[in-house]
Amino acid sequence: MTRRQRRMVLVLVLIGGVGIAAALTLEAFRNNLLYFISPSEVVAGKAPPGRAFRLGGMVEKGSVKRAKGSLKVQFVLTDFAHSVPVVYSGILPDLFREGQGVVTSGHMGPHGVFVATEVLAKHDAKYMPPEVADALKQAKRTTTSQVGAKP
């Protein structure tokens, strides 16, 4: 083996070793790296009891209820398998709307209600002009109404 080949092997071993070490470390910290957990995990009892954590999911359509004269808001977070009711008092981000993904942080209150102290909006990876979005919505509506019209 020439010296150059030996150096080549050394560089490869270095990268491989660091790669394996990183993979093992990340695997060990797997759960700590999750920024938020889903409603299904909360229902399955995986939420840390009595401790603050983050809950992420989709705001269920038609579930947002605002209290008159205050910033209190109530909604249901869902991952389409399970859902968790959330109460929050404060200013919501611009992108907060029904059918939109959000990440809330807080703790489980009584009766399985999540008491949020912060609500962040998670925007999707789709970018399109408003006319296209409207057209897509229109197309969806017509197809669903056609399906619904069938006997």
Binding site: R7, V11, L26, P93, E118, P129
Partner: protein, 246 residues
């Protein structure tokens, strides 16, 4: 091919070749950037959800791409320098670091400014944002290491090892949004199948990406030329060059 590789490795040939390439890269970069900016800021339609705020993407996304691209370039040059003992590869790696650090900083700041109106916060410690911050520290650590060690060859070797160790962070940054739940959204352009972005918005983004790449190439060649002159100041060809200028 090998001849080209060897010629590139010789400081004198690199100096001459880079000098001829710089104006081409610079002009191409300027034209593409103007086209990309007009396309992105004027011609592209506003987003259906984010309105005009999404336009910061034309700065944020290419910066983030470059932060990764430059790091990989640095790591590859470092590997070449370690294995083939090529002086020019060390110079390219060292000259790339401050440019890469600047792009990383730009990506973090523009992302933060974008996050406030859209997510509702400037910063969160999710996997994507945290790993990009670690990338900035890697760049800064690399630059610090090169300055801290006085002997030039030792400094280059230590820096090369650090650059190679740090390259493990690059796939982590790229895949962080798929491996873990993050506040940062998933990939838009590099998705399998169709990118989930309208063509009128995507084309300016790609133009900006190309313009940023050319900007990096222009900058790194200018910096490397200066570094070559400083390093080879005692050699015959540099002396002749200076006398010729006087």
């Amino acid at each position: 091919m090998w001849l080209f590789f060897h010629k590139l490795g010789s400081p004198k040939h690199f100096y001459q070749l880079a000098g001829r390439m710089i104006p081409w890269f610079a002009w191409a970069c300027a034209l593409l950037m103007i086209a990309g900016l007009i396309g992105g800021l004027v011609l592209a339609p506003p987003d259906y959800q984010q309105g005009d705020s999404f336009r910061i993407m034309y700065l944020h996304v290419p910066s983030a791409w470059m932060s990764l691209f430059i790091y990989v370039t640095m790591a590859v040059s470092s590997a070449i320098a370690l294995i083939w003992k090529m002086k020019m590869a060390d110079i390219i790696a060292a000259c790339s670091a401050p440019i890469g650090a600047s792009f990383t900083f730009l990506a973090l700041v523009s992302g933060s400014l974008w996050g406030k109106p859209m997510w509702g916060t400037y910063w969160v410690w999710d996997a994507r944002l945290t790993s990009e911050l670690i990338l900035l520290f890697l760049y800064l650590g690399y630059m610090g290491l090169l300055v801290a060690i006085e002997d030039r060859r030792n400094a280059a070797r230590a820096g090369a090892v650090l650059a190679l160790v740090g390259v493990v962070n690059v796939p982590i940054i790229h895949y962080s949004v798929q491996w873990w739940n993050t506040l940062h959204q998933g990939p838009t352009v590099t998705k399998f199948g169709q990118p989930s972005i309208a063509a009128s918005m995507l084309i300016p983004l790609l133009l900006m990406g190309l313009a940023f790449t050319l900007f990096y190439m222009t900058m790194v060649l200018i910096r490397a030329r200066t570094a070559v002159l400083t390093q080879e100041r005692r050699s015959q060809w540099v002396r002749e060059l200076i006398e010729h200028h006087e």
